[in-house]
Symmetry: C2
Subunit: 609 residues, 2 copies
């Protein structure tokens, strides 16, 4: 338990009954998502998403592979599939003392050393990691995985790690795309993954003060479902919300698609409990806001498992919205769409989510549709005619805005009217709520496409940034040009796939999210080549005034840029603090580029960088 | 200059022309506020505020002293005035090496060692400090005051302090009420106050991205006036906004009265530049939001000058509101008013500011009115009749809500309608915009009352906290009961003065602000006695689930409670970080209760706590 008295627990608190896990929700250990869901190529060349979880599940898509091949200027054939053959890790390093000291604390089923479990603990969902998982091997994985069930067990694990020289890597949903979970190859100590997923309960709901304490290993879909039973939502819906966890959101400084209404993770979390090498960080009360000196809890946001393990947090609750509606608007071009977004951001009547898809993403969405037949075919042809002939839109230039409205009926009506007025100002044409809803639902099904295209010899990944408004249009142009330039410079086959969308709007700028990929058949070191190109594009982003990341974080694929975005003194602070607070480098997976030398000196108690 | 390249400065940036200080705005060196403004007792027993700056300036108030005396159950007589006699400090400690090394950097008029300047640098506006300033002496003051004019000069000052063993205390507006500026009596090094007020320019305004870079020493009234010329506001209006500075707001984690619309300081500041013992913290770009690891800039919020000196910050801008309106509503009692506030907070249509005054504060406001004559007298009598007879209100139980609405005409109209509907639900009666506006304007004039009542033998101070909604009513009752109990236990004369208001509302709770005082004539150690009672009341607040502070901060009057609000590990983190980042304790005024021993060891380079 936290070592400080928690005062004044209101009597009105509800303690929800805990639910057993649903075995039908088993996850795929060797790819994205649920085990029952996967894109498959049929003999007729069509693509289908198995299962029935998503809006595109079970629908035959005749155009997907062909369209993607056209983008790459290389054929993607339904029957030209690379074999996925994950390589299980060899025997783990010995950590007998560590395991013995935990044997009195953890039950046997809370410690795993089997190769499958260890392999899953050794990666997130970075494209590079998955490429190696599918076709090569993950260089190093944890030597063991532990599954604590309560706060005290986490305390015991951290204490044992300190005593026995074990490196700990906290594991939430394993959905990061920053290689944060990758085991340092030069780490000489045994590595233990601390899987938090059994700590997944809502401890209490306070319906008066609109707060809830939730264990850090709870996944987004469980949090949403259980809070909904009590009429509440936490409002945090990152694209990974099905599988990512509260602790992971805090550690990566996450952003949800509906942040306009509910805030980002730092706005939603009021308090947290964290196990560190010095013991437990906890606070005596949960209040809306305070000024109590520099607040150590704020240091945990974005700390990516470098300083400790979050075991629970108190979050704000919101009533579930009375009304939820979708919208979509087509603009003649990306610039017009961006100008619309700017006006919406400054209008004070901002929907829960507003996104702007570039032309390629619009066509990507079309390629995920079934073959149009009958009336749908006529409707589609008419729509195309209207777009191209009547309104002067061009199919190869238009951009699409999708919207989610949440709130009371009055709020939603007002936001809709406001968006309609502003859309007209920029030549937008309403494209209906169905297209908007489809766009948002696609977010979850589309995540499975990576595994499909990887099998079809494509290397691809997403990356994101945030920029001031004045840089948005220029950023998109420069990112695309740079991707093409780097692709050509390496003599890679065909053309690169590069597309982006604006996913978040603020008064002072936006978050931009890109997909980039290339045809990789016959390309040696495809994953490493991708990383090289992404880093070149990132340098371009930084030169445009963009950030190193809006919400994905740093991990091990962006740490080389830390010196470019902050002054030497800022980096010195990070390093000195890491050494002061974790002198034994117990949380050794994430080191901000801190040299092995400096860590060794720190571990020897020299306490300096 | 910051040592990292700032990228992508938009061409649209405006560089405002700098304005000379207005000599008519000279501040009172020995009390609150402007030199031309002071409450004075006239021979007829009436009180008047001199000058013409405020809504209550120049108005004779016949009831003020009598009403306050009634509250204290002790007579406050117009001609029974204690003599204010500030004691100038004796000669400063020598710091020849430090001053010599600065002589090439600072002009002679940027270094002051005269007793008046040093005395002002040695205190903020804590009641205890002012009591000692008026009637006793400030135990220790800085040995010199420096006035840097740019970032490089601050870098040079910090470097010289490190080299020559000088302790630095950053000074913004000197308005804190936490004794943050008090010089540690056991500090053996010379102490230098770093007065930031000459760094008061707006460096640039970016009207497209709605941001501005402002030097840290700029005072609120200057920032408001200069931004207004360009159609913008920063939206941050703490009660001290006339005199407090941007750097001070960051260092104290400040909150403005209109935070519902514009956010608190941590919501408004996007980037900052900070001089630390390790050099300058700076970042390469200003973006709306990012995930770049644990962000050292966030550590500065609330750091109270313990880790470095903020030299500038980039803040969000908002268009000046098209419409500003006020409102006031009378409720039959405090509980009804609190229930109304709760409904407003959860309604999603929250005015820029909502406050709830308890019954005593309502009467305090009445006591500041001139004698009612003619029609006003009739109106006042009629209002009283209506309140007491027709609506069933009781003058000794009612509570008052005041509101500020800002935004577009449509936004304001909607908020007003919403508040009117909710007020009816809780038995509220509209009391007109004039009373609302008067309440907010009083905030600034009323700040001068402390100096009046101190001269009339009263010891008084304010304190604040934040609590969940469910604790608000209980908190008010327990704070008042505890104040009475502690007052009685010490055998102090008469009765204590204790009154409070809710000043900020959030979805999850509120900020509560109290005034407490007692008749101190003949009371030995009145200031110390006040502090004892305040600490007892603070313990009561913590037991109610309240915070140590909502926005005032910790300073030297609440540091004894740090151990009660966070776990030992959290305190250890603060101490280890302080020692790692400021091993020589250059910023030695604020130490989180870190023992002199630990500091000595740290200064000896042992680097441990």
């Amino acid at each position: 338990m936290p070592t400080i008295q928690k005062s004044y627990a209101p009597n009105a608190r509800i303690v929800p009954t805990s639910k057993a896990d649903d075995p039908s929700e088993a996850e795929n250990p060797y790819g994205w998502g649920f085990k029952d869901t996967e894109f498959q190529a049929l003999d007729n060349g069509n693509i289908v998403l198995t299962g029935n979880r998503y809006n595109i599940s079970g629908i035959e898509m005749p155009r997907l592979l062909g369209w993607m091949g056209g983008q790459l200027a290389m054929p993607l054939r339904w029957n030209d599939v690379a074999e996925v053959r994950p390589v299980l890790p060899s025997a783990p390093r010995e950590a007998a003392g560590f395991l013995k000291s935990l044997s009195g604390v953890l039950a046997p089923d809370q410690i795993a050393t089997d190769p499958e479990t260890r392999l899953r603990g050794g990666h997130g969902h970075t494209g590079e990691e998955i490429y190696h998982l599918f076709f090569n091997r993950i260089a190093r994985v944890p030597d063991m995985v532990v599954f604590p069930q309560d706060h005290e067990q986490v305390v015991a694990i951290v204490r044992a790690a300190a005593e026995h020289g074990v490196c700990l890597i906290p594991y939430g949903g394993g959905t990061n795309v920053t290689s944060a979970l990758a085991c340092p190859e030069n780490e000489e100590r045994p590595i233990c993954s601390v899987n938090m997923q059994r700590m997944n309960r809502i401890s209490w709901i306070d319906p008066v003060n609109r707060t809830a304490e939730i264990q850090a290993g709870a996944m987004g879909r469980k949090i949403m479902a259980e809070l909904a039973e009590h009429g509440f939502t936490m409002g945090h819906e990152p694209d990974s919300v099905e599988f990512s966890t509260l602790g992971g959101w805090i550690a990566t400084h996450a952003s949800g698609m509906k942040k306009n209404r509910y805030g980002n993770i730092e706005d939603i979390v009021l308090d947290m409990t964290v196990v560190t090498p010095d013991g437990t960080l906890s606070h005596h009360s949960v209040v809306p806001r305070e000024s109590i000196g520099t607040d150590v809890r704020k240091w945990i946001f974005g700390s990516e498992g470098m300083l400790g393990i979050v075991t629970s947090a108190v979050v704000k609750l919101f009533p579930r919205p009375g009304v939820q509606r979708y919208g979509s608007i087509i603009f003649p071009g990306f610039e017009k769409g961006a100008a619309f977004l700017y006006d919406v951001a400054l209008s004070g009547l901002v929907p829960a989510s507003v996104r702007l898809l570039d032309n390629t993403q619009f066509h990507f969405g079309q390629a995920l549709k079934p073959a149009a037949v009958g009336l749908a075919k006529v409707k589609s042809a008419v729509e195309k005619f209207v777009l191209e002939r009547v309104k002067g839109f061009h199919l190869d230039r238009l951009a699409v805005v999708t919207l989610v409205y949440e709130g009371t009926a009055a709020e939603v009506a007002m936001q809709e009217r406001n968006c309609a007025t502003l859309a007209k100002r920029h030549g937008g044409m309403q494209a209906g709520p169905e297209n908007g809803e489809r766009g948002y639902s696609l977010t979850f099904g589309i995540a499975y496409i990576r595994d499909l295209v990887f099998r079809h010899h494509m290397m691809a990944e997403s990356f994101e940034t945030s920029v001031p408004w004045s840089a948005v249009v220029e950023l998109f142009a420069r990112v695309k040009a740079r991707a093409h330039k780097e692709h050509a410079a390496r003599g890679l086959p065909g053309k690169p796939f590069i597309t982006g969308r604006v996913t978040q709007i603020y008064a002072t700028g936006v978050c931009c999210y890109f997909y980039m990929g290339f045809y990789a058949k016959g390309v040696e070191h495809a994953a490493e080549t991708y990383l090289e190109i992404e880093r070149a594009v990132r340098a371009e982003i930084l030169a445009c005034g963009g950030s190193l990341s809006h919400h994905h974080g740093i991990g091990k694929i962006r740490d080389v840029f830390l010196k470019d975005i902050q002054s030497p003194a800022a980096l010195t602070w990070l390093k000195k603090t890491k050494v002061a607070l974790d002198p034994k480098n117990i949380f050794g997976a994430q080191n901000l580029g801190l040299s092995a030398d400096a860590l060794a000196r720190a571990a020897n108690g020299e306490g300096r960088v």
